[in-house]
Amino acid sequence: MPASLAPVLAYHGATRRYGATTALDRLELTVRPGELFALLGPNGAGKTTALALGLGLADPDEGSVQLFGQSPHALAARREVGVMLQSAGLPDTLKVGELLAQTRAAYARPLAVADCARMAGIEALMSRRYGRLSGGEQRRVQFALAVCGRPRLLFLDEPTVGLDVEARGLMWQAIRALVADGCALILTTHYLEEAEALADRVGVLVHGRLVACGSVAQIRARVAQKRIRCTSVLAAETIAAWPQVGSASRDGRYLEIVTAAAEPVVRQLLAADPGVGELEVHRAGLAEAFVEITRAAA
């Protein structure tokens, strides 16, 4: 990616307060064209506030936010953007097809209706009233509205909450196709596997501060812990007393050992029990990294 590619979304020291609480604290972040950025964090960490600033729904108290190099309030900037909010209540009495027609009309080069419907899996819902749809169906309609204008940047706030496994898979597939077409994406999610499966870059927000930001591999590397799993006749208590072992426990016929130094522990393990079998060593996943980073930041 050439360094000169202008960011589609840029936060410079963006701070937002609600009363005495600082919802977002000096956020520095840029999202570049075609990049999929996932914002992770516990509830109330400021994820939704960060999106609200990017969309111009709220203004930063300090610092600045630029959308396509312009103010997020500019209509021209918003024409490049698609959005799916957690709190979006679309008019209950309008039919899905009508909502789609109205939203498409606001974009200069919208996708064909059939393409949007297929992408979001709402072909069968077009003549139904929005208010009579299930929660998951409504999320899919919101996704269709978000993508119908061929946006160059998509804001997705917890897009797959309330979706079943199949619908989530369909949305992931659509998101990958959009990114392959050069659309940038900023999404917030609770599901770490979602970030792990989709994101180029991940940021972790805790108490309004971006405490970690990088590729999934970089974030994961911040956690030194590794997990050893094997079958062995040794008692977990014995191993727990070894140097460099964080913890050891038994899970059925398997031993689970957590350690920062896998190699010496494995060496000692093989020496102590020549019958060790099914040996696996795992680096911590994004989930462990996330837990450790948020704990350290809290």
């Binding site: 050439p2 202008a6 709190s87 309008l94 109205q102 200069a108």
Partner: protein
Amino acid sequence: MSIVIAVPAAAPTAPAPRLLRCYALEAWHEFLRLLRTPMFALPTLLFPAMFYVLFASLTSGSAGGRIDPAVYMLAGYTVFGVMAPGMFGFGVSVAIDRDSGWLQWRRASPLPPAAYLVAKLAMAIVFAALVYLTMAAAAVIVGGVRMPWSDWAALALVASVGVVPFCAIGLFIGSWCRGQAAPAIVNLIYLPMAFLSGLWLPLMLLPAFLREAAPVWPSYHLVQLAYAATAQPYAGSLLGHVVVLAGVTALFLLLAWRRLARA
């Protein structure tokens, strides 16, 4: 040799969509929303004519002087009917759209912000015109009203333009209160205002202090215009009433705008 490709700092923005289509679709959808909410549409259209029929049959006979009771009440109940699409149409639906997050979603989307208000305004005018037609039918059939075409046309104009200040009041109410509370709050303002400006009973039947306070209410000024349109006696100057109504519109629009910009 290397070739440097310059990437423009800001990507070229997309051409503007066809705005007229946005506005037309939005107005059409607003109409569909109302049509699919018969709890709003039916009472708005039928109550004024129903009241008129009830009261006109009670007060038959001539009051003497220049007042023709059937025409006088036609003017009063038409104004009463015209207030509703403005106050309820804006007050309740804006409050609901704000609660549900629809307004927030719109602000994040490229839908033109003004299309929302223009669509609601257009529907309020359509409903005011329909109220006028039902009232006219009731007046002709039950009240036996016969007026020159010019008077009918003047009343139609008063009805369809007269809804605008009440739209502004409704917008202001909708920008402040929650969706569930909105119908009650609108009724609390709408019904007393209608009564106190003499739309139900002629002002001369009210106590003196209420009669003197009547010019406080915007509906008082609109009904004077309706009296003038139908050749009934009216108070004050016509230009004065128009100025007051325009001022009410501007004031409440401004207050609502400031509130909605922050919400």
